[in-house]
């Protein structure tokens, strides 16, 4: 029983971190910080 609780807790913890990382990636993408390779914002 305690093993199942621990596994559940770990899953919830991992899901939380996954959501946080996804939110951070999305935020960076909106800021333009994760432009695809080769893409530029301007040409001088």
């Amino acid at each position: 029983m305690s093993v199942a609780v621990a596994a559940g807790g770990l899953a919830v913890w991992l899901l939380g971190w996954g959501a946080a990382v996804a939110a951070w990636v999305a935020w960076r993408g909106r800021r333009g910080g994760e432009a695809p390779a080769g893409a530029v914002d301007a040409v001088a």
């Binding site: 333009g32 910080g33 914002d41």
Partner: protein, 244 residues
């Protein structure tokens, strides 16, 4: 917010990423640039520059005085290679006016509360709140970049022969400057980046070293032999430096 307009004969594109900045900030930028074109174009007979050149303007405005002071500064600094009063030609301060006016436009944006923007005036770029990725056009292949740089808050300008041919004259010889294919300068302001790029280009290969010695300036140049010259601090994001 994104906006593109044709001003001074080239496209000016503006991107502002701050949702709180009103459209009127972009309106003010383009109104200013149109005003600059009307006031300082040597191609408009009734501009301040044309009237001054004809001796019809005895008391130049504060802005024109500032522009002419900058021109004189760079003429002296380059030993006469950069000269807006070439013999047989009218007064042409365009090389300074463009960078100066676009930098002033960027300051208008900051005053309006813009923290993250990219203002690109025909290849002269001012950025704020980066990271921004700015490509440097290959001097011989218009559809290729020869390098990409990262800018956070700063400016970048390129002088080259590809846009208008041999249009930059070495004032010391009166002949077109042909020592370089292109020269790009990164500086804190576009006033400096654009003026230094043109002035250094007029000097030829020695101009690369001159510009590299200026505080706050980083340089990327391709000489007539297709050799890439760059300062160690040039903020290259990735190199595709296949200048061949």
């Amino acid at each position: 917010m994104r906006r593109v307009e044709q001003v001074m004969g080239f496209p000016v594109s503006l991107r502002i990423d701050d949702a709180s900045v009103p459209e009127s900030a972009a309106d003010a930028v383009f109104a200013w640039l149109h005003q600059v074109d009307a006031r300082f174009s040597p191609f408009k007979p009734d501009s301040e520059v044309s009237r001054l050149d004809r001796g019809e303007l005895s008391d130049p405005s504060e802005d024109l005085t500032e522009i002419l002071d900058l021109c004189e500064h760079y003429r002296t600094a380059t030993g006469g290679a950069f000269d807006v009063r070439l013999p047989g030609r009218g007064l042409d301060p365009c090389a300074v006016v463009k960078g100066w006016s676009v930098q002033r436009a960027a300051e208008l944006l900051r005053a309006a509360g813009a923290k993250r923007f990219c203002l690109n005036a025909g290849g002269d770029v001012v950025t704020a709140g980066g990271p921004w990725r700015v490509g440097v056009r290959h001097p011989e292949h218009a559809d290729q970049l020869c390098t990409v740089l990262h800018l956070t808050d700063g400016a970048v300008a390129t002088s080259a022969r590809y846009e208008r041919g041999d249009h930059i004259i070495d004032g010391r010889t009166g002949r077109p400057a042909t020592g370089l294919l292109s020269l790009t300068v990164v500086a804190p302001t576009l006033t400096e980046a654009d003026s230094v790029a043109t002035a250094a280009f007029a000097m030829g290969t020695e101009g690369v070293h001159w510009a590299a010695g200026l505080e706050g300036c980083e340089v990327f140049a391709v000489d007539a032999g297709r050799q890439v010259l760059r300062t160690p601090g040039f903020p290259t994001a990735r190199t595709g430096a296949t200048v061949a």
